[in-house]
């Protein structure tokens, strides 16, 4: 068995990305869709850090991963506020039944 290299981290990240896409496209609940988005952002972050480690390009990848984490925090706060508003309007958060922009 070969030793751990860049490929192994990229494979983990690819699987995580596919699972995130799967959660986004199949789940009805808006919060589950958010969890899928978090999985996708995490897989992108693994790629950034792995290429920063094996690409010998300095710490730029790690800085970018830090920025992605900050953006994910802001995104989660805004998305949760929108979900709470949806619940106030429709009394559920199933995004396949929400078809009105102006209630």
């Amino acid at each position: 068995m070969e030793s751990i290299g860049l490929n192994h981290f990229l494979v983990v990240s690819a699987i995580l990305f596919s699972l995130g896409i799967y959660a986004v496209v199949t789940r009805k609940n808006a919060i589950m869709v958010l969890m899928g988005i978090e999985l996708i952002l995490n897989s992108a972050n693994i790629n950034f850090v792995a290429f920063s480690r094996y690409g010998n390009s300095g710490l730029g990848g790690q800085i970018t991963a830090l920025f992605v984490i900050i953006l994910a925090a802001a995104e989660a706060a805004i998305a949760l506020a929108i979900v709470l508003n949806l619940y106030k309007t429709f009394a559920h958060v199933n995004i396949d039944e929400i078809d009105k922009l102006n209630s």
Partner: protein, 166 residues
């Protein structure tokens, strides 16, 4: 197989198994708690990649912040008294087929490509270098992200406010 490989496989297994539970769990609370193990596994992968500061930030922001926010969202959008904290799925079979093909292609591509790797001299602790980079080379993005966080905070408070509260 040395210790590094063993720990990598351990963290990769934790990450992927708990992520599978996240996307398949019927109960949202179970999915949220499983997501915690996914974040821990990813933090372990960061440590293996020599990114200690990113790993700590991952644990603090994702597990301490985003996961708690998600759990708040679950609790506030479901009636706690009813046991029905469940979630349905749509388009399960077509999604399984297409995502399966997509994942197979992606994993095959990632595994078979011969990446031109050049192992870098990663310092033992990255915190000092990251801090230096943040206030020199990336200072504009740093400031912009500060403004973005302020705007996001005000926006979230405004959106979630009840009508009539001025």
């Amino acid at each position: 197989m040395n210790l590094y490989d063993l720990i990598f496989y351990l963290f990769a297994a934790i990450t992927i198994v708990s992520a599978v539970i996240v996307v398949n769990a019927k109960n949202i609370v179970y999915a949220a708690f499983s997501l915690m193990f996914t974040f821990f596994g990813v933090a372990g992968l960061y440590v293996l990649l020599g990114a200690d500061f990113i790993a700590i930030v991952q644990v603090m922001v994702y597990i301490g912040g985003i996961l708690v926010l998600l759990l708040f969202g679950v609790m506030l959008t479901h009636k706690i008294t009813s046991v029905d904290i469940k979630t349905g799925t749509v388009q399960l079979i077509p999604a399984l087929i297409i995502i399966g093909i997509f994942a197979a292609v992606l994993v095959g591509l990632m595994y078979s490509t011969h990446w031109a790797t050049k192992p870098a001299e990663i310092p033992v602790t990255t915190t000092k270098s990251l801090g230096n980079l943040l206030v020199t080379e990336y200072v504009l993005i740093f400031e912009l992200l500060g403004i973005l966080l302020l705007v996001a905070m005000i926006g979230a408070a405004t959106i979630a406010r009840r009508d009539g509260e001025k």
